[in-house]
Amino acid sequence: MQVTRRQFFRICAAGVGSSSLAALGFAPGEALAGVRAFKLARASETRSTCPYCSVSCGLLVYSLGDKAKNAKSEIIHIEGDPDHPVNRGTLCPKGAGLLDLVHSENRLKYPEVRAPSSKEWKRISWDEAFDRIAKHMKADRDKNFITTNDQGVTVNRWNTTGLLASSAASNETGYLTVKVARGLGIVALDTQARI
């Protein structure tokens, strides 16, 4: 007896009696493999770049969700981009596990603060975080900003607050960060790229 997958579902839906059909061995051959639709078929494909070493392998990132304003997408799969001239679809053991980086249980989710002497983090809002950080920075800058050096040369530097930049952030982040840092007069500026 030949039964297509669709027919099989219909038979099953018909009631308890029909379930014996399956028990008697009338289940279609591909039924088990075909019960669920291939997930990637309804996923969005996004081109990306591996964030690890700077071979910078091309990636295809697959996410579920229709990108509607109030719908959240979820990344479900990442693989090498076969069109990419450098990696040609391949990924190394690190890159192949990128999904676990995206969904790491150690991802931070909320701004937090740890008070002096405290043993724990306290969740705060972004507004509170920005306010408190800006106040710290302004107090330090106002107190320690150096307008001229001993020889009277205009130097306009602030060297009591420093900044270390990532070497995994985008060029856009790097550019905006250096613009702000220099704009504030920060000279104690360095990056992971040095080391």
Partner: protein, 809 residues
């Protein structure tokens, strides 16, 4: 990389030294495999460990960590004494025939101008002889004893094969085999490439390791050619881009030297940076410095930057000290810093000498950590027992931790190791309340600006006037920021030769840095990236896989800086007459009227060969520097110095001169000298390294990586294990004078004891990837062991060669 990843397939011989591409850059290593399969290329690996790169090499030679200059100096001596150099290239494209000042000397390990108290050189004598015409004096026959060629020959004559063996522990036959393989590429039809990484940079002589190889590549005529060049394999996705954006104290975006206290006057600063040609007809491209600098100031300060106020030159901070990461933590340790922002950087794990970094962070008033992941740095105050012994009650630092997006949730560009800018798109929203780094920077800045508007404060002008015309000031879009650093015309930009011809109309995105002006009519946040987002749109997002040359340049894939050029110095792929050295690997050639071909010419397009315009256009003399002039801290020729912690009593090259045991110009802070260990208590050499399955300190947070490499280990050779009674799987304690780690012993034959200067030297391998935060098993930060001293030029810490003891725990 002067070249790029796919270009490795064009090499005839590949040397991997100071790196381990098969394990650390696996998907880039495939181009080595391609070269071997399709060009019958050969591969040699020189490394302290028999790595997986070595496992697939045609030849492997062992070497003691920290002795690379002795090896490479030996190669230079081999090439010069066997006359295995590319003569026409060396004569035309390097400074080999140039005459050096009479007062430049080298005496038992020390160059002229040394000040032992300051541990630095007065570099005045490290210069050319200048003739009456204002140009460098040249001896085209290269016979003058003061020409670079002769000085170099003399300098490296001490680096005999026997000396290489004595210093490096490399068997002489193995050294000679590698030298022979390298020398075979001296002919114009053979090209060699070098792939190196942190194994060269992370030494107190790191920069000179790389210079020594650059000299070899110049002598062989391999720079500027497909399959050649000097190729740094960068370690993070955007090491190249963040370096180009210059998020470090020395320079402004596009490697524009940052002003110091000595640069009081703008005009003098610009004149100093605008290097004038030292030979007739040279491009000396830094003459354009004022155009790049003025355009940068227009990007940052917009209408506030005017000719009258020197385009806000005085608003830029001038620096009075190095402010590299080691110096910053030293200042913090001395209590001279109050605040610190860490953006995607985990210094407690990544910087050497964890103890010092932890003590430093505890002296701050406030610390702000922005990261996708929980990091050790953000929890430096927390008691993690033996892994991080701290009493939180004693730590007064207020710590903020802000969640940032990861690559998959933000949009923007990364620059790969081969200088190709590639755009990526956000695939999903980030978890929880996470925000992008752009939004976090904008959030902090706009809040600060508000405070200055309301309250005033110290020199508010640059804060209040920082150009911030983003459509939503709290969330600048990556597209807006990319357009800004590309640059645009503020007024019409016209052709200097024909003012009626408009090159770019006011408001248009610029197509090339050749259109930048120094009168305020253009803005550009990074001249090197000019052209990445022109009127034609976002060229970083291009995905055309066409490869017209067949050499793997993919000119319409992404955008390669500068000017979409795929191979730097490509003028040197052709002979002085403009004909490619190897017609099968042609990038550009002189077609009778202009330079043309498969790549963007690294040369003025109409500079005819007979004008003798040199291919190294950024240099005032137009040629490659075998003699580095004043460019390097410790001398114009690389010289072997021992690591700061050496297993030897002296430098075998200078046994009688203690000043020349270690790099005489490397900086070490007072307290850190006392933290160095000596060979009597710490008899083994240690070197840190990375595993294929892990990335730096991130992937201990990644379940799949944690499953395949769950726990920390220490690698050691069989002889040492036997001597110490250590079996595979035993727990061992490895200690330096600064700290210890405890981990499982992995006893292998990948490491072998070497005989160095008459004694047996064992090397212990320390993989770095563990820490006290993560989903992998907890471990000790490897940098508890490493010394707080860096390269004399770059200040990159010496992670690759230090001393330890090892015992069964």
């Amino acid at each position: 990389m002067t070249n790029h990843w796919v270009d490795i397939k064009n090499a005839d011989f590949i040397l991997i030294m100071g790196g381990n591409a098969a394990e650390a850059h696996p998907c880039g290593f495939k181009w080595v495999t391609e070269a071997k399969a399709n060009r019958k290329a050969t591969l040699a690996v020189v490394d302290p460990r028999f790595t997986r790169s070595a496992a697939v090499a045609d030849f492997y030679a062992p070497i003691r960590p920290g002795s690379d200059i002795a090896f490479l100096g030996g190669v230079i001596n081999y090439l010069l004494s066997h006359d295995l150099i590319h003569h026409d290239y060396v004569k035309a494209y390097t400074n080999a025939p140039y005459l050096v000042r009479e007062d430049f000397t080298f005496d038992d390990g020390i160059f002229s101008g040394y000040n032992a108290d300051k541990r630095s050189y007065d570099r005045e004598s490290w210069n050319y002889q200048i003739g009456a015409d204002g140009y460098v004096m040249v001896d085209p026959t290269m016979q003058d004893p003061r020409c670079v060629y002769q000085l170099m020959k003399q300098h490296y004559s001490r680096y005999t094969p026997e000396m290489v063996t004595q210093v490096c522990g490399t068997p002489t036959a193995d050294f000679l085999k590698v030298a022979e393989m390298i020398g075979a590429t001296a002919t114009p039809d053979k090209v060699m490439t070098i792939m190196y990484a942190l194994g060269w940079t992370q030494h107190t002589v790191g920069s000179q390791n790389i210079r020594a190889m650059a000299m070899i590549q110049l002598l062989l005529g391999n720079i500027g050619r497909p399959g050649g060049g000097v190729n740094a394999l960068r370690g993070h996705a955007n090491v190249q881009g963040i370096t180009d954006m210059c998020l470090y104290s020395d320079v402004l975006p596009g490697y524009l030297g940052a002003p110091t206290d000595a640069d009081a006057v703008r005009e003098e600063y610009l004149a100093k940076k605008s290097l004038k040609p030292l030979r007739p007809n040279q491009m000396s491209y830094w003459q354009n410095f004022p155009k790049f600098h003025t355009s940068l100031m227009k990007s940052w300060y917009g209408n506030a930057a005017t000719a009258e106020n020197g385009f806000c030159y005085d608003w830029l901070p001038k620096k009075d000290a190095p402010y590299d990461v080691l110096h910053i933590f030293e200042l913090m340790h001395q209590g001279k810093m109050n605040g610190f922002l860490c953006q995607g950087f985990n210094p407690l794990a990544a910087v050497s000498c964890v103890k010092k970094v932890r003590e430093s962070l505890a002296k701050l008033k406030y610390l702000v950590v922005m990261d996708p992941l929980a990091t050790e740095t953000s929890e430096f105050w927390q008691d993690y027992g033996e892994y991080n012994e701290v009493d939180p009650a004693q730590v007064q630092t207020e710590v903020f931790r802000l969640p940032a997006t990861c690559f998959a949730e933000d949009t923007g560009s990364f620059t790969n190791s081969g200088r190709v800018l590639q755009w990526h798109w956000a695939a999903a929203e980030p978890p929880g309340e996470t925000r992008s780094d752009l939004d976090i920077v904008a959030g902090i800045f706009t809040r600060l600006r508000e405070l200055y508007q309301k309250e005033g404060g110290a020199f508010p002008d640059p804060v209040l006037n920082l150009a911030w015309a983003y459509s939503t000031p709290l969330t600048p879009s990556p597209e807006e920021v990319a357009k800004e650093f590309n640059g645009k015309a503020i007024a019409d930009v016209t052709d200097p030769k024909d003012p009626t011809k408009v090159l770019a109309k006011a408001g248009e995105q610029l197509a090339t840095f050749a259109h930048l002006r120094d009168d305020g009519s253009t803005s550009c946040g990074n001249w090197l990236y000019c052209g990445a987002w022109s009127q034609a749109g976002n060229l970083m997002a291009r995905r055309d896989t066409a490869d017209p040359s067949g050499l793997g340049f993919y000119p319409a894939w992404g955008f390669s800086w500068p000017a979409n050029r795929r191979v730097l110095y490509n003028r040197a792929n052709a002979d002085p007459a403009g004909k490619p050295w190897d017609p099968k690997r042609k990038t550009i050639a002189w077609d009778g009227t202009k330079w043309s071909g498969f790549d963007v010419p690294d040369m003025a397009p109409n500079a005819a060969p007979e004008q003798d315009v040199g291919p190294f256009i950024m240099h005032p003399d137009g040629v490659g520097h075998l003699f580095a002039l004043k460019g390097m801290a410790e001398g114009p020729f690389p010289e072997h110095y021992e690591p700061f912690e050496t297993p030897l009593a002296t430098n075998p090259m200078h046994p009688k001169n203690p000043l020349a045991t270690r790099n005489p110009a490397a900086r070490i802070f007072k307290g850190d000298e006392a933290d160095l260990g000596t060979v009597d208590k710490f008899p083994y050499v240690a070197t840190t390294y990375r595993l294929t399955e892990h990335q730096h300190y991130w992937t201990k947070n990644v379940l799949s990586s944690a499953i395949v490499q769950p726990a920390q280990f220490i690698e050691m050779d069989e002889t040492l294990a036997k001597e110490k009674g250590i079996a595979n799987g035993d727990v061992v304690k490895v200690s330096s004078h600064r700290g210890y780690v405890r981990a499982t012993a992995v006893v292998t034959r990948r490491l072998k004891p070497l005989t160095v200067d008459g004694k047996t030297v064992h090397t212990v391998g320390v993989p770095i990837h563990w820490g006290f935060v993560g989903v992998a098993k907890q471990g000790f930060l490897a940098n508890r062991l490493t010394p707080y001293v860096g390269d004399a030029n770059s200040q990159t810490p010496e992670y690759k060669a230090f001393l330890v003891n090892i015992e069964k725990a």
